[in-house]
Amino acid sequence: MSAEVLPYTVKPHPVTGLYNGKFGIWLFLASEVMLFGALFSTYVFLRMGAPETGPTAWPTGEETHLNWMLGGLNTLILILSSVTMVLAWVQFKMDNFAKGRIYLIITAILAIAFVAIKFKFEYAHKFHMDIYPKTSVFFAIYYTMTGLHAIHIIGGVVVICYFIGPGAKLWEENREYYTNRIECTGLYWHFVDLVWIFLFPILYLL
């Protein structure tokens, strides 16, 4: 079935005010909230259950060996990429494809920088210090949460690169459809940013 036959693929529904994709991406984000919610729940559960002292006690800030500067830098990178993402959408909305595409490219580069810092400097450094997920429950949840988040970033990069490259053909066919898709990608991207905003303090600072 070609997409044109289905109603409200591009134009918003007169009653709900939404096109299908936008409603769909919000529902998907709702399920993502519950996915990360379960991990946050795990974090709270493990932390509240940890004894005051002993080998399974929760590590203090110094004991975690997490570098808040790298974490903070990555926070700034991700926030910046959120801004460029939304600016890309603004440019497409204003029919300015070339500029929008440049913003998308910047977003992708920032995202790759985030992942590079994460893997190259943070994980590699930890492994070098013999700190693995099995070292303690703190590192178990640290690696799981940041790892899952990194997978989300990589997924986002793939989608963004698709819209820079082969997906851009859609702009020629249907500009509004393309801009809508960028909006949905953006919603996802901001959500990933939003998760990181919580991950940074609970893992690096507390």
């Binding site: 005010g17 409603f23 919610g37 259950g49 926030i79 959120s82 953006g186 905003i197 600072l205 507390l206």
Partner: protein, 107 residues
């Protein structure tokens, strides 16, 4: 949504301002963590700042400030409620143990 071009370009300034605020808050939250508050206060401060940042991202970048679709608000509200259940209730077992039993670490 059906923003006219002028509307969208007006938002650009807002986006830049929000970015500046988010960056500042990031610096503040790092700075605050060096004050060595007592633990509960430190957690409260850090989560409060994170919540402000998250709210900014959601309202401005994700356009919730201009969102009129009731369905989206419904989904967000529903998810928020279940998120709270999911995050709080499992941990309550740490504070509610069966009476007359001595537990050393885990229940």
């Amino acid at each position: 949504m059906s923003d006219a071009h002028a509307d969208v370009s007006k938002h650009v300034k807002t986006y830049i301002a929000v970015f500046a605020t988010l960056a500042t808050l990031t610096v503040i939250t790092v700075w605050a963590s060096t004050w060595h508050f007592s633990h509960p206060v430190a957690i409260a401060v850090a989560l409060a700042i994170a919540s402000v940042k998250a709210t900014l991202v959601a309202t401005i970048f994700m356009h919730l400030k201009w969102e009129k679709a009731g369905n989206i608000w419904f989904v967000i509200a529903l998810t928020a409620v279940f998120f709270v259940f999911l995050v709080t209730i499992p941990s309550l077992v740490h504070s509610d143990k069966p009476m007359g039993t001595v537990f050393t670490s885990w229940g």
